[in-house]
Amino acid sequence: MSALRLLLALATTLGLSASAMAADKPDPAADAKALQDYFVKKFPKVAFDDFVNGPYSMNADMRKQWEEKEQFPPYEFALDSGKEMFAKPFKNGKTYADCFANGGIGIRQNYPYFDDKEGKVITLELALNRCREANGEQPYSYVKDEMASLTAYMAYTSRGKRFDIKIPDDPRALEAFERGKEYFYTRRGQLNFSCASCHVQSPGERIRAEILAPALGILNAMPIYRSEWSGMGTISRRIVTCNSQTRAVPLEPQSDEYRNLEYYLSYVSNGLPVSGPGARP
């Protein structure tokens, strides 16, 4: 009888541990569904695909102004120079097309991805600079100018394609996703704001003169021309600026934290179309 009890106790313990382990294992698909459901419920009048238009999906007046601006979009110069740069051979005769699948055309929706050899997240900006370095060229600044132009062109060739970020069943990839989520929800800076404080709790609300964009689809329009910057900015620039605005010292662009954050934000926006390059106030 006591042996039977012992067996029962052992089985129960094993069962509980297994279910606890299952509960602890990151579940990106469930996280993405929960976040998408949250936004759809919070903004029932916004069409799902329209979330990629950020503040314009939340405010009719801003949308009208934006639609008029789109007739002569402020990112057009960056797009033209990006196209030119993309085609121009490096000193060794190769081009960016040699570094990417499909010659780099129509692939924006697959970035960032998890590189199982390196065990880290690879963003498009990082891949572009690695391509340059592999071909004997100096890397570009991650925040604006050439990098913004190149990513603008690559986004443009991918417009309408739906984000399709993959998270392999690899503990390192799941960890990267989890760390990205943690960064997103962690409060920082003297103002004690997390990314979620603005982009989950308060999208559609004003913060000073700005209307906050929803987290869902927030990277689909990148890179962007911002009137506030009087120029183009990359995803790196957007994250660095957000950090500074909360009075946190920004991390270095393409740090592990930022790459993981981009992985998380992109994955939860799976299914939404690429709309970049974009324009924002």
Partner: protein
């Protein structure tokens, strides 16, 4: 109707002013050693915040202000800014530490 008599209020104000004047007079002016200790404490705390990847821009600004005041010979202001910087750095450490668990409260599930 109840009112406070002006002479009584005046007496109290004069008394308070005298007390503050005496206290201010007896407050020791900051020495260079005070300032150096305070700025070292601020820089050490800010370094720890950096290790936690959670420095605040205002902390470095306060450290810079302290150094600038010290260079111009205003040690009282230098000490005040250095102490402010240390307080800010310590607050950023508390934030980084507490957020290790607290972020989960904000998560959409």
């Amino acid at each position: 109707m109840r009112y406070i008599s002006t002479p009584s209020v005046m007496k109290k104000i004069v008394f308070a002013m005298m007390v503050s004047a005496v206290c201010a007079g007896s407050a020791r002016a900051a020495s260079e050693a005070d300032y150096l200790a305070a700025v070292a404490a601020a820089e050490s705390a800010n370094k720890e915040a950096g290790r936690l990847r959670n420095q605040w821009t205002v902390t470095q600004a306060a450290i810079n202000a302290a150094k600038k005041a010290a260079e111009s010979g205003n040690l009282d202001q230098a000490l005040k800014s250095a102490q402010e910087a240390e307080a800010l750095a310590k607050a950023s450490i508390v934030q980084a530490t507490s957020e290790k668990q607290r972020w989960k409260e904000m998560e959409i599930r």
